[in-house]
């Protein structure tokens, strides 16, 4: 690995990753990109069937037709979450074709993709460039990838494709409904998942685009979330996803009394600020605590007759209820987490699919995330300066993706409702194991033991003073927890080898992740 330098956040980061030179993080809003955006090769419409039928017989045939070669980069979206049946078949086909050293560039990976580990060991896949969840994260943490994992936010993935940092050779887009021309939508069909918009950038920038569906309809497939004009080939399979697993476990409402307490405090906090007012906006993650906070807030909105202009999802049935009850005008939906969300998107024109381009893109002319009043997110660790970690656990293992987390920090009030410790492990720490979000963008930490407000936010401190909320310094809550768990944890012994880097939303390197000994 290359030379290490200290970036503006004080973290030691490599100047080169997987052979590509890198810019160290320069501070929030400091880095200014230059040049022109990357683009797909120029195509000619007459090279495609005039009758619009782009179907081929199998995944292998599609990959061959797209000219996939060893060493190329293959991308996919994660709208099927843990119910994806396509990508394992793709890599099986690659193995059959004798391909080697592929780079997989998913918008996220899930435990169902554990078979990729075998393909990686066999040399078919060289490394995964994208959010790593569960088994793949563990595999990478122990140093088994060839090359470093590059962890990006949803917006950062779009940024990397747009500015040419990542070049996609072949994009594979699983589509719950599509026509033979390649128009595709996620809002209907047996594997319906709602929006397909994480795959949008792939469809626009990849050299070749494959649409895979198990619900082929005659042209036109409407709505066309993915436009067939960007698609090279279409493959029909019997089954592309497992609907019950497309509905992620993270959308189950928490039953834990402590989490509910945190959720209730979160909603009470929002209500106590000046930003809770007619026409406000919010975004909540899909974790159980964030969902519960949304439900508590809904009760307050009803009681106070306060209506929101838009709520951003991660949409779930809880958000749909808010829309249908008239407590918000719009759901701006980045990904759809349950069947009620899918139904609402299909039927309700005010439930609008959005993409990382509209919401999170660094190279856009503005984005929605910075227009949101409240965002409610999770974290694995937070330190005394409100710096937060979402990708590694305190033992150093990479187990979670960044998702839209970093992008959402642009909201006016960023709130992290988190337990102050999990089992014995403190969540409030001296220094985060991995820096994913600079503390200057994190405003409030809500724990079961009290609410800590970033001293930078005097407005929030003023708003909630004297309202009966348990406002406490972060350090005080941290000290209390250390008393309960028997002192600060030892620092895990990590290897020198860098197994991953965390990119900031602008493409600079925010932190490096080191190997965890097995």
């Amino acid at each position: 690995m290359s030379e290490l330098v200290k970036n503006a956040a004080g973290r030691m980061v490599p100047t080169e990753v997987n052979g590509t030179p890198q810019t160290p993080f320069q501070g929030v809003g400091e880095f200014r990109p230059a040049g022109r955006k990357a683009a797909a090769p120029i195509a000619r419409c007459t090279d495609y069937p005039a009758d619009g039928d782009k179907r081929v017989g199998s995944l292998r045939e599609a990959l061959e037709k797209c000219g996939l070669q060893s060493g190329m980069t293959i991308s996919s979206h994660h709208h099927f979450r843990n119910g994806d049946l396509v990508m394992n078949q793709i890599f099986d086909a690659c193995a059959e074709m004798g391909l080697k050293d592929l780079v997989w560039f998913p918008s996220a990976s899930f435990p169902c993709h554990a078979p990729v580990i075998e393909h990686q060991k066999a040399g078919v896949v060289k490394r995964v460039e994208g959010s790593l969840n569960g088994p793949l994260g563990r595999h990478a943490s122990h140093g088994h990838m060839r090359g470093a994992a590059v962890l990006r936010s949803h917006g950062g993935r779009w940024q990397a494709v747009q500015d040419g940092e990542v070049h996609i050779d072949v994009a594979v887009l699983a589509a719950p409904t599509a026509d033979a021309f390649g128009n595709a939508t996620g809002d209907r069909g047996p594997s319906a998942c709602g929006s397909l918009n994480f795959g949008l950038v792939d469809s626009l920038h990849a050299d070749k685009v494959i649409v895979v569906t198990d619900n082929l309809v005659p042209f036109p497939c409407v709505p066309w979330q993915i436009q067939g004009n960007n698609v090279d080939v279409v493959v029909e399979l019997d089954k592309i996803g497992e609907p019950e697993k497309i509905i992620s476990g993270t959308t189950v409402l928490t039953k834990s009394p402590d989490r509910l307490l945190i959720a209730e405090l979160t909603a009470k906090f929002m209500r106590a600020t000046r930003y809770y007012r007619e026409g406000f906006s919010m975004q909540a993650g899909a974790g159980g605590t964030a969902l519960a906070a949304t439900i508590y807030l809904k009760e307050f909105m009803r009681a106070d007759s306060v209506k929101s202009r838009f709520m951003r999802g991660g949409s779930t049935k809880y958000l749909v209820e808010i829309l249908e009850e008239g407590l918000t005008d719009y759901i701006l939906d980045g990904q759809t987490f349950d069947l009620e969300g899918v139904r609402s998107m299909r039927e309700n024109p005010n439930h609008v699919p959005t993409s990382p381009f509209t919401s999170y893109n660094w190279h856009g002319k503005g984005n929605f995330a910075s227009m949101v009043d409240f965002v409610v997110l999770g974290a694995t660790e937070v330190d005394a300066q409100f710096n937060a970690n979402v990708v590694t656990h305190s033992d150093g293992l990479m187990l979670h993706g960044i998702g839209g987390w970093q992008n959402c920090l642009a909201a006016n009030v960023t709130i992290l409702p988190i337990p102050s410790f999990r089992d014995r492990i403190p969540v409030l720490v001296d220094e985060v194991t991995t820096l994913c979000g600079p503390g200057e963008l994190i405003d409030v930490v809500v724990t079961e033991r009290g609410i800590a407000i970033n001293p930078r936010r005097q407005d929030l401190l003023d708003d909630v003073a004297g309202k009966g909320l348990p406002i406490r310094p972060l350090a005080e809550i941290k000290a209390e927890v250390e008393g309960i768990v028997g002192g600060k944890p030892d620092k895990p012994e990590l290897g020198d080898e860098i197994v991953g880097v965390v990119k900031w939303v602008d493409g600079t390197v925010l932190d490096a992740i080191r190997r965890v000994p097995e």
Binding site: P257, D258, L260, L261, S394, D395, G396, R422, D423, R424, I425, E448, R449, G468, G483, I484, V485, G486, G487, P489, D490, P492, E493
Partner: protein
């Protein structure tokens, strides 16, 4: 030659914040510890050191210890190690006493006991954050919530929890077992800060006197001065008929609770939601308690998902004269407090009575009057209680006297 072996605690995929310990006592070779832990890289060293200190405290110099830890906090590790060692060796004179981390505020005889949260005595995970939900009391249960084979383990956990866990100002209650086992339970709790002992299935005032006497004995030996309050639970027809005798069996009895499962079995009827079958029993308990000048306390509402039903049940208990309700889930606590809270009319009347009383006192008058009516002392007392309740539920501001006069 076989070595004595003891095991304690919990392990497996779903276990969290607990640990499993196996201790094999040896004749020589010192201490060997084999540790597996979910928090190995962060607390592995601390766990080993703690286990070594624990064995030293128990006087065990040679042992093979196997530990499987799922993120247990230190007081739980201590309890599991001690229990495993006791199971290997039988009775042990020594113990692993964690340093006391909390000194609970004194518990007045007539404090609020609106809500009491039941916590199974052998499930430490549920204890850690129980106080955050602000119950008036927590009950560390050694009785029905603990399997017979785990009674010894629960004693150890409960003793340590009393010394270490911050229950946020809740009164520290322990429900002991029946009979001799219950008296033996007292050794584990009286020296360690328990504030009230719940005596289950009482049918005879002698059972209360036995507990009071044993508790006093242990307290004296431990140099404890604060009283150990008692709350007998009446759960049978026989107990109900002796309710007044039980309520007055000892001067440390400050509350009388009701349990209905055994009672409905006694009657040979089904327990219904309406509770007609227990109407007499509930009236009996309230009257016995009031006659004895102590608090009548209602049983639990067991449908955790039904918050509306809980509210109705508390309102009914309140209308019958009960002062408290048992909770089996933290989310029940706020509902119970709200339902026990006085309504606006009650509060308004109570604060006028209290102000009149305070004025009469300030003027040195022997008689309190409000308008043209004379106020009897019990009415004043009731009004003071209502004001306290209103303050506790936030229905009255701390500075209500100023607001009332302005």
């Amino acid at each position: 030659m076989s070595h004595p072996v003891g095991e304690a605690g919990a392990r497996g995929k779903d276990v969290r914040s607990d640990c499993w310990v196996r201790v094999e006592i040896r004749d020589a070779g010192g201490v060997e510890i084999a540790l597996r832990s979910k928090v190995m890289s962060m607390y592995g060293r601390a766990i080993r050191e703690q286990a070594e200190r624990g064995l030293t405290a128990l006087g065990i110099a040679h042992a093979a210890v196997e530990m499987e830890d799922a993120g247990a906090v230190p007081f739980v590790l201590d309890a599991r190690l001690e229990t495993a060692a006791r199971r290997a060796l039988g009775e042990l004179a020594a113990e692993i006493l964690p340093d006391r981390r909390v000194t609970p505020a004194p518990s007045p005889r007539d404090r609020f006991r609106r809500s009491r949260l039941y916590l199974p005595g052998n499930t430490p995970k549920l204890m850690l954050n129980a106080g955050l939900h602000r119950p008036d009391a927590v009950i560390l249960d050694l009785e029905d919530a603990v399997a017979p084979a785990e009674k010894d383990a629960a004693r150890c956990v409960v003793r340590n929890a009393l010394r270490v866990v911050d229950f946020g100002g809740a009164e520290l209650m322990v429900r002991i077992n029946q009979g001799e086992r219950g008296l033996a339970d007292l050794d584990w709790i009286v020296p360690h800060g328990v504030q009230m002992v719940l005596i289950p299935k009482v049918e005879d005032p002698a059972a209360v006197r036995d507990v009071a006497a044993r508790a006093a004995e242990i307290a004296a030996a431990a140099g404890r001065e604060e009283p150990v309050w008692l709350m007998p639970i009446i759960e049978s027809s026989l107990g109900a008929l002796k309710a007044l005798e039980i309520a007055t069996a000892a001067d440390t009895v400050v509350a009388l609770a009701i349990g209905l499962e055994d009672y409905t079995a006694d009657l040979g009827v089904q327990r219904t939601r309406e509770g007609t079958e227990s109407f007499w029993m509930r009236g009996q308990i309230v009257n016995a308690a009031r006659a004895a000048g102590i608090q009548p306390i209602d049983t639990v509402f067991s449908d955790v998902a039904d918050q509306e039903g809980l509210k109705a049940s508390v309102l009914e208990a309140k209308s019958l004269g009960f002062d408290g309700k048992g909770c089996i889930h933290p989310r029940q606590i706020a509902v119970v407090h709200e339902a026990f809270a006085p309504d606006a009319v009650e509060i308004d009347k109570a604060r006028r009575v209290v102000l009149a009383f305070e004025e009469a006192e300030a003027r040195g008058l022997g008689v309190v009057s409000l308008g043209s009516k004379m106020i009897d002392p019990p009415v004043v007392k009731r009004a003071q209680h209502t004001v306290k309740l209103a303050l506790a539920t936030g229905l009255l501001a701390e500075n209500w006297r100023e607001e009332a006069t302005s």
